[in-house]
Symmetry: C2
Subunit: 378 residues, 2 copies
DNA sequence: TCCTGACTTGTAAACGTTTCCGGGGAGTCT
DNA sequence: AGACTCCCCGGAAACGTTTACAAGTCAGGA
């Protein structure tokens, strides 16, 4: 009952007022000491002691209200169980933490509600910036992004005129790499196990697949195309359905989860991989290396995309007036045992991830930097 | 140049002052309308219109400073790439979102620095509560938890006297389930591929393994024990080392990632699973079902633990004065093809997850509810 | 007609921090 | 010795909300 009111927080916790009163200094001095700027030796000692005695821990919310920053960055992904997002997240986290910030991840389940809702709640200043990789992009997404008070970077395809920072890959070209590879290995009846066609990646893979077949003069057989969702179980079941009605000699799967499911279906029916059916996945996640035989997979540079997206975000946080940027990461094909009958990858050990430099893995023949290539479009 | 200063935020964004001024009402009225409480029809109309015109979006930080809550809950896990955390996270998320809150996930990489740092930053009011599942628990952790201004629930083993809400399982008993199963199947030379012994789960599995062997009168052969970390590659390499120096007829792996790695090593050396070597993993993640053959695995109830932890957290947020609680989730064994030569699981299809009710999967013979059992200790 | 109650509104005080600014003391250079 | 610089300190004003409180309006009942 010294002053008009107790110097503690509503829930009884000490505030900077508590510390200041106990140390016998002003809150300004206390704050300065606690932030390590200025203060005489005596003041520093008293404030430090007082803080320790009362167990002071600063209220980050109040600090953020004042400083207008939180030091947090959010990543919103559809399905945190998909290893492709794990790889992306690791790359993002490396960049984000090296800037002294922390990364928070939110799984949206791919629902529009949840995603826009997240923007509305989180984006409103709880975090300094946000990276999202939605599986579907609607006008609601774009509206929410444009109106957002904090910078947002989108990983994935976006309408051309959207004024939003964007990192993408060309998954149609990625599909073409896989088809080229399978055709070159003598496969003619190539099947596709895809995800939903109303998603951005699903639509791109479907279009890319048809175009790639056409470029080789191979007619499209609809019985060789099956659609599920991007999960393991759906891939397994869709592959089983496909085998029940057609006889592919190769199978391209829209991601590695589907590919592992298809592999499971194949092995269950005692088909040999790759002798009877060659198998190629997409995303080149660690799952592709865990499978036996190891899966060939189209790398869509998820780590590189994540890293670049994080860099774009940090740049925009530093300078919000930058014009919207759009960057591309080139796909590449990683050949492993599941699609090569003879020697898996020339000179490669089972643990080597990168495609052999002499292989037909890069259309333009450009050498790939060890860390993934990033191309900037004008 | 109306009043003393522009009514907008520092970065030029509209605030409630902007809206109020434009609508010609006080900020109190504006705030009330925006929160949907009170206001005459005319006021509501004016404020809504003004808010829409200027594109007002409330500053959640300021709101939280006032209301003392953020509506966010955090989950800190060591390795987000491990599917066991994915399952746990999904269960937590279901509970958290049903309470109208949002879940944020942070991957700590298992580093003490990062974990305590997270507590220091996040916990200081950015989120209303936090669930953490540290792989190592140090005094620094405990200190940080105790001093934390927000409720923290720990999933995993904790010192007995720690005054912290805690959900745990008995992984020693889980190991015993697996060993019992393998011994009953006639295996005698059982190997263990473990994670680091200075982690909580690593130490528990090691102790449980030795105790379980002893209970069967089987001497411990140190050459049958190998240690790596809890990752796929480490499991693969550790298993290969183990096979190079000993001839196990069964292998227990400390988690499913290690088990898949071991499976890979076995298949590479053309050993048959389960005929030559029976394989049992732990955690019963979706990875166990993806492998071929499907892996038997000890379920440590990660989903049930996550769900219970979330419930405990919400209860404590509602009433911070509750005494510290400690709950247990019983382990169970899910038998699949990797450890049974004849019929994999009696009557089971490849997609059936639950152990058959007649099997020796529960020590006490109690029936398990479909969703996992939670027992409360006094 | 006057009083009471319901409803609406505006003023101002929080929430807990950082920081601008001015005053005062000690030290240094001329 | 006086002026100037430098450092330390405290008061007070932010940051953008919500909300307690008081004052005002209006209708209805005695």
């Amino acid at each position: 009952m010294g002053r008009k009111r107790l110097q503690t927080s509503a829930d009884g916790r000490p505030t900077v007022h508590t510390v200041a009163a106990r140390a016998g200094v002003s809150i300004a001095s206390a704050s300065r000491v606690l932030n390590g700027i200025g203060g005489s030796a005596e003041t520093v000692r008293k404030v430090r002691a007082a803080a320790a005695e009362v167990g002071y821990v600063p209220n980050a919310i109040a600090r953020s209200l004042q400083s207008q920053r939180t030091g947090l960055v959010a990543l919103a992904v559809a399905d945190i169980g998909n290893p492709v997002y794990v790889a992306m997240m690791r790359a993002i986290e490396a960049v984000v933490t090296s800037s002294g910030r922390q990364l928070l991840v939110h799984a949206t389940g791919g629902e529009i509600e949840s995603e826009t809702d997240l923007l509305r709640r989180l984006a409103n200043r709880y975090v300094d910036g946000m990276i999202m990789s939605p599986i579907r992009i609607t006008d609601r997404h774009l509206d929410a992004i444009v109106v957002s008070p904090i910078p947002v970077v989108v990983v994935g395809q976006l309408p051309d005129d959207a004024p939003v920072d964007n990192v993408r890959t060309d998954s149609r070209a990625g599909v073409a790499l896989a088809v080229d590879h399978l055709v070159a290995a003598g496969r003619q009846r190539i099947g596709l196990v895809n995800g939903p066609l109303d998603t951005v990646p699903g639509a791109a893979r479907d279009a890319g697949f048809r175009a790639a077949l056409a470029s080789h003069g191979i007619p499209v057989d609809e019985r060789l195309i099956e659609v599920g969702d991007f999960q393991y179980a759906a891939g397994r079941d869709a592959a089983a359905r496909l085998f029940a009605r057609a006889e592919p000699d190769a199978l391209l799967c829209a991601n590695d989860l589907i590919a592992v499911g298809a592999l499971h279906a194949l092995l269950t029916e005692r088909r040999r991989v790759p002798e009877d059916v060659a198998l190629v996945g997409m995303d080149d996640t660690e799952l592709a290396q865990m499978a036996f035989p190891q899966l060939s997979s189209v790398s869509l540079g998820s780590a590189a995309r994540g890293r670049r997206a994080a860099e774009l975000l940090l740049e925009r946080i530093a300078d919000p007036d930058l014009p919207p940027r759009r960057e591309h990461v080139a796909p590449s094909l990683v050949v492993r045992a599941s699609s090569t009958v003879g020697r898996p990858t020339p000179g490669g050990t089972p643990s080597s991830r990168r495609p052999s430099s002499g292989g037909a893995t890069r259309p333009g023949g450009r050498a790939a930097p060890a860390d993934g290539t990033v191309g900037v479009t004008s």
